[in-house]
């Protein structure tokens, strides 16, 4: 995508500090979220995904917040495990369009990751509620983005001239 600066790389903090997990409530505040990434991350120790008895059961307040889940590609601290890099890269949008896109992407990602969880935990009501919360927020953000920067997909009434074919397309970087 154009409009993004580099994802900043931060040097590692302490290696075995899991205290950040206690502070990882589901804060829906975007700015607070970004601050949370300054917390320590254990890079290599969390290997639940290879433990035979780990059933994946997770409660909403155990999850990463939206921003931190998104930059990690994983909403589930109990499955989070890093390779090579010592902390996830921040995403630093350079303008309003990129900022709005990052935000709606992050909420959409949170909803999607919970969706996969719910496929195998279909009776988990608290998680269904959280899914609904995140998908509502995503839809609001999509509407706000589209109002300003044009459609993300072809649906409903379109303006004239046909705005679907406007740049930028997602794979272009400048």
């Amino acid at each position: 995508m154009n409009n993004f600066s580099n994802m900043n790389y931060f040097m590692p903090g302490g290696a075995n500090d899991f205290s950040y997990l206690n502070e990882m409530q589901n804060v829906n505040n975007w700015e607070t979220s970004k601050e949370n990434n300054k917390m320590m991350v254990n890079p290599n120790q969390n290997l639940n995904f290879n433990k035979c008895n780990f059933n994946g059961k997770t409660t909403p307040n155990e999850l990463f917040d939206v921003y931190n889940g998104y930059i990690r590609g994983n909403m589930f601290p109990n499955l989070y495990n890093q390779y090579k890099i010592n902390r996830p890269y921040d995403i630093e949008p350079l303008n309003k369009q990129a900022e709005m896109l990052t935000q709606l992407n992050a909420y959409g990602f949170a909803a999607h990751d919970i969706n996969l969880y719910l496929d195998t935990h279909p009776n988990d009501k608290p998680m269904i509620n959280l899914y609904n919360q995140y998908i509502d927020e995503t839809n609001k953000l999509v509407r706000a983005y589209e109002k300003e920067f044009g459609p993300l997909n072809v649906s409903g009434n379109m303006t004239s001239p046909w705005s679907w074919n406007n740049d930028p397309w997602p794979w272009e970087n400048n």
């Binding site: 993004f4 499955l79 390779y83 890099i85 400048n174």
Partner: protein, 187 residues
């Protein structure tokens, strides 16, 4: 049906051309543990799942893999953008250029075209889900190898994101497998 959304699942913004890296990453486009293979494998297996749980999970993960195909394509496109013929030759992409020019073509890093025989389908849903667990583990390992091959944060960011998705998918497939095994014990 599917509907296109005009965005990547996670931003790809690579500023530094790196043809060698493009050649390595090709394997995640059209190679045996690549995203294209994963997408087809999961979407194809849906028709032999015993209940809605498996059908839902395979649909959702298969769909996400299509978004990963697009991320990998964007990485390849940006890593090769503006390369001269001399540069392509020097990076071992001369053969690729001879046949495909500057188009993307799904192959592995050696240039072997994507092959549908990569797709594992057996008629046995437990065997299929277990092959998916293996596919996720192999893809995770491939992403780790790719991360070993670069120090560019623009490239490491998306690779790290994609690697993390393999971990999640592996876990969900494992949960599905365990659930079906328990169902079998009950009956």
């Amino acid at each position: 049906m599917w509907k296109y959304e005009k965005k990547l699942q996670y931003p790809v913004n690579i500023r530094k051309k790196d043809l060698k890296m493009a050649k390595y990453i090709l394997t995640q486009y059209g190679g045996p543990a690549g995203e294209l293979a994963a997408a087809f494998q999961y979407l194809d297996q849906r028709y032999n799942m015993p209940d809605e749980r498996g059908r839902a999970l395979l649909t959702d993960i298969g769909t996400e893999e299509l978004a990963h195909v697009e991320m990998i394509s964007a990485m390849l496109y940006q890593l090769m953008k503006g390369a001269s013929v001399e540069e392509l030759k020097a990076a071992g992409l001369g053969e690729n250029y001879a046949t495909f020019g500057r188009s993307l073509f799904p192959s592995d890093s050696f240039g072997n075209p994507f092959n549908m025989a990569y797709i594992k389908v057996s008629g046995d849903y437990i065997a299929d889900i277990e092959s998916n667990m293996g596919a996720e583990q192999r893809a995770r390992a491939t992403y780790e190898h790719l991360m070993d091959l670069t120090n560019d944060p623009d490239v490491l960011g998306p690779l790290s994101f994609l690697r993390e998705r393999e971990i999640i998918h592996y876990q969900r497939f494992k949960e599905l497998r365990d659930y079906y095994l328990k169902q079998k014990e009950k009956n």
